[in-house]
Subunit: 287 residues, 4 copies
Amino acid sequence: MSGRQNTVTALLSGPDQRGLVAKMSGWIFDHGGNIIHADQHRDMEAEVFFQRIEWTPSGDQSDLEAEISEFRSFASGLDMEVECKLTTHRSRVAVFVSKYDHCFHELFLGQKSGELPCEIVCVISNHKDLEEATEGYGVPFFHIPVSKDTKAVAEQTQLAVLAEHDIELVVMARYMQILSPTFLQQFAKPVINIHHSFLPAFAGGKPYQQAHERGVKLIGATAHYATAILDDGPIIQQDVDRVSHRHTVNDLVVRGRMLERRVLADAVRWHLENRVLVYGRKTVVFD
Amino acid sequence: MSGRQNTVTALLSGPDQRGLVAKMSGWIFDHGGNIIHADQHRDMEAEVFFQRIEWTPSGDQSDLEAEISEFRSFASGLDMEVECKLTTHRSRVAVFVSKYDHCFHELFLGQKSGELPCEIVCVISNHKDLEEATEGYGVPFFHIPVSKDTKAVAEQTQLAVLAEHDIELVVMARYMQILSPTFLQQFAKPVINIHHSFLPAFAGGKPYQQAHERGVKLIGATAHYATAILDDGPIIQQDVDRVSHRHTVNDLVVRGRMLERRVLADAVRWHLENRVLVYGRKTVVFD
Amino acid sequence: MSGRQNTVTALLSGPDQRGLVAKMSGWIFDHGGNIIHADQHRDMEAEVFFQRIEWTPSGDQSDLEAEISEFRSFASGLDMEVECKLTTHRSRVAVFVSKYDHCFHELFLGQKSGELPCEIVCVISNHKDLEEATEGYGVPFFHIPVSKDTKAVAEQTQLAVLAEHDIELVVMARYMQILSPTFLQQFAKPVINIHHSFLPAFAGGKPYQQAHERGVKLIGATAHYATAILDDGPIIQQDVDRVSHRHTVNDLVVRGRMLERRVLADAVRWHLENRVLVYGRKTVVFD
Amino acid sequence: MSGRQNTVTALLSGPDQRGLVAKMSGWIFDHGGNIIHADQHRDMEAEVFFQRIEWTPSGDQSDLEAEISEFRSFASGLDMEVECKLTTHRSRVAVFVSKYDHCFHELFLGQKSGELPCEIVCVISNHKDLEEATEGYGVPFFHIPVSKDTKAVAEQTQLAVLAEHDIELVVMARYMQILSPTFLQQFAKPVINIHHSFLPAFAGGKPYQQAHERGVKLIGATAHYATAILDDGPIIQQDVDRVSHRHTVNDLVVRGRMLERRVLADAVRWHLENRVLVYGRKTVVFD
């Protein structure tokens, strides 16, 4: 939603204090920047302040890193946590898959069309099914099988691949394995998962089967950050589609695929555009 | 969705057999009727057949009851359960309320505008708040307080009112009490409830509070038939509304009201138009 | 979406200049206020800046009018147009109706439940159908018949009623007359209209008939500010509902009513909460 | 929505007569078939009857073509037009494209995953941009440039390709040329187009630009059969997405792509599943 010149986005959060908006915008003004968008939110109960600001830095574009670094110090001095990003930056993404390919293709096509401002650097899978398709996109494919006994070792292999490729974001594109708390802790960077259900309803396996048995009139999909507790991570995006008694379990699966694709694509795009602040079990999405 | 002449609707269900569609339509044809709408569904796994037929009976409208009765015998002979209704029939409805009035007004306005083809015959409440509003609509109000100790007695009083007024349908319009299995069994007629959540997520109390804490991006409402198991009855209609971090719990409550009104109104209208077949824990809605 | 203490909302618009966010928030900070929400937008092509700020003024609540007046001067000095409002203010609203009552009741129920923070001060109609219902709500009803020949005179009578009652907003709740450019110019305050169609499709009369003939799969409703050009005023809110070949024109009308009610209620609520900035043929809605 | 055994679907339409449902289902019953789904509709004003029936033919699957042929004669004898299809049949589809690839990829991925039960036999384009991608899918690509002067000749070349490949359906996947009435008449088979707007609003070019200038709150997409009159063909599917002042024209284009993809995929799937009856300027979609 920005123009095409290079801009900086900052996501800020911290204890609420009087005058934060004035201080942040004052700093940018004093440094010759021009605010393009600014959106903020206060959680009244928790007394936390959240802000996303996007600005064009002053004339001299040669030293943006220094300016960002100075802004970071300024924000830290106000007890704010801050995440800065240049809009020209392309995050390095690893995609985890198993056998389903609908979310996999959605991510590659979104990346190619420019809707997902990232580089997909590698694909990791516990199956070989998508090896050829991955290579067709010109991207390396790592087949790392996972069984109950080998899971801990497999995860170390995955972590090594991620480290080697400087991965900044993992997207689980219907990867049918749970990433262990150890993995998440060691990776220490965001992991986005798509759950093929309207969480918290039907958490866990076979949600379409459960939904069909319950006779629901809407099915849903939820994209969330992965955390140590299964399917309980902060929700980024959700959507639903209307169904009826005429739909078989298989029909729900087919319609669910479209839902999963677009919910995951929204969540990944917002993350890449530095729009998502995590906050306890919740997110603030400045969309 | 029918023209305004008198027509008959039949809802049929029973074990699937070859030729049921032909037999049903054949009977109507042979008796001089003309089918306006017919919709059917087969549950492949359970091998159950469902059908809704609407037809204009033959020229002689004087003896419709006899024709319906004959059709019922015919359907029973084929092992089908059948629910017949003249579209000119106005079901006798009792509305149960507590203090919230948004669903209450929705039902009265829908009845007056003709969208809900029924008569609202009485209002029963455990509080006095809506007495005046009820009388403003020209309908008797029964104040039947309910406490833990008096619940069994209160329910007998409610049942007496329902019996006295020949009630065919109870609508719980945000009635904040649970009707006991005993009540449901003795009433033995349909009871529609509105749950202010997207079931099965957030079943039970304070769903908006729960939804807010979980940071959901959609809130929902569910209308279902009341059964002995709380919030587990067959779902008739569901809908959602999009929310964000900007919404307080109170905002969710306010937006939820509009959602509850329209979801309940849809469910009641479909029921009154003889469009809803209950089937295990599910419904088939011929909408 | 604010807490219940008294806050000020300001809607600002004007030529974009570097540092506007800093200046506005700086003024509030310097005067001891605390910003609760602030949202801004820049139209890149037109180089116009828009902002909605909500803040709790400093401790002394006794002289809020003076503070607002001082803020207005400050904003004007920066070439900004500004619209300020105390959140405790209840705008004085006149409702224009003809015979349809669904939007009429929606407004009264919304006002009574607190969702529409206003006072409905009078109802004006070219028909007598809603006289009794209006008086039931304890509000005066003005029957001002309109014919082709008497329209100019009737409008002067309407304007006199509006002036006498200090009306700040007119809501056309399916009022089946067009307000003349002269009326709009002399009233010189906002008028919100509900159009029972998804504008710009099917502008003008009988949109449901047109939609049915065209076989559309969605019907819509649009709430907009009335302007001298029919159905061309700035759009505040739109929504749709899914329909099929099974729906008659009458079914579209029935479903359309629910759509019209909720679209009009949203638009009026946003207006009353000082969330809508008009801007050429468009609106900026800070929802 | 059917099981995986071979079934027959028939789409029927013709002048309404008493007893049609009985006659159709009677024929199937008498020939040993079992009706899986049957849905019918009557247009009350035009007195036209529409029906979709799906049935499993009798035990002997060896002579299905003969049975279908006999059913066709029977239906014709009742003045019904009939379109029959075996669910195992894979329609031969040609995709027309220009430079945009989002709908193009959607169709190929849908075909590969089985959601679109067809064979994509060839791709025809007035540009070379998608040649490599087409060949990557293993499908022949025909580059047929079109200019104002060469259009008539180019269309003859296109028609020759379609004839040579026995094409049964053309899908215009954002093909940026209008097919002439002559082309449509000579091809004489269905052509589905995706219009990147909520028809009839913003018919013609640059609808997102128009929508942005008008400040609409919803954007839409419409899939319809192509007819001699531009953007006026019978509508198969429509959907919308919510937008705000924060979205640039480019944002609308990006969001519109997802909308176009899913609206086109729905329309093509319903067509392939023999669910769409054209009827004057409208469709009856038995979904």
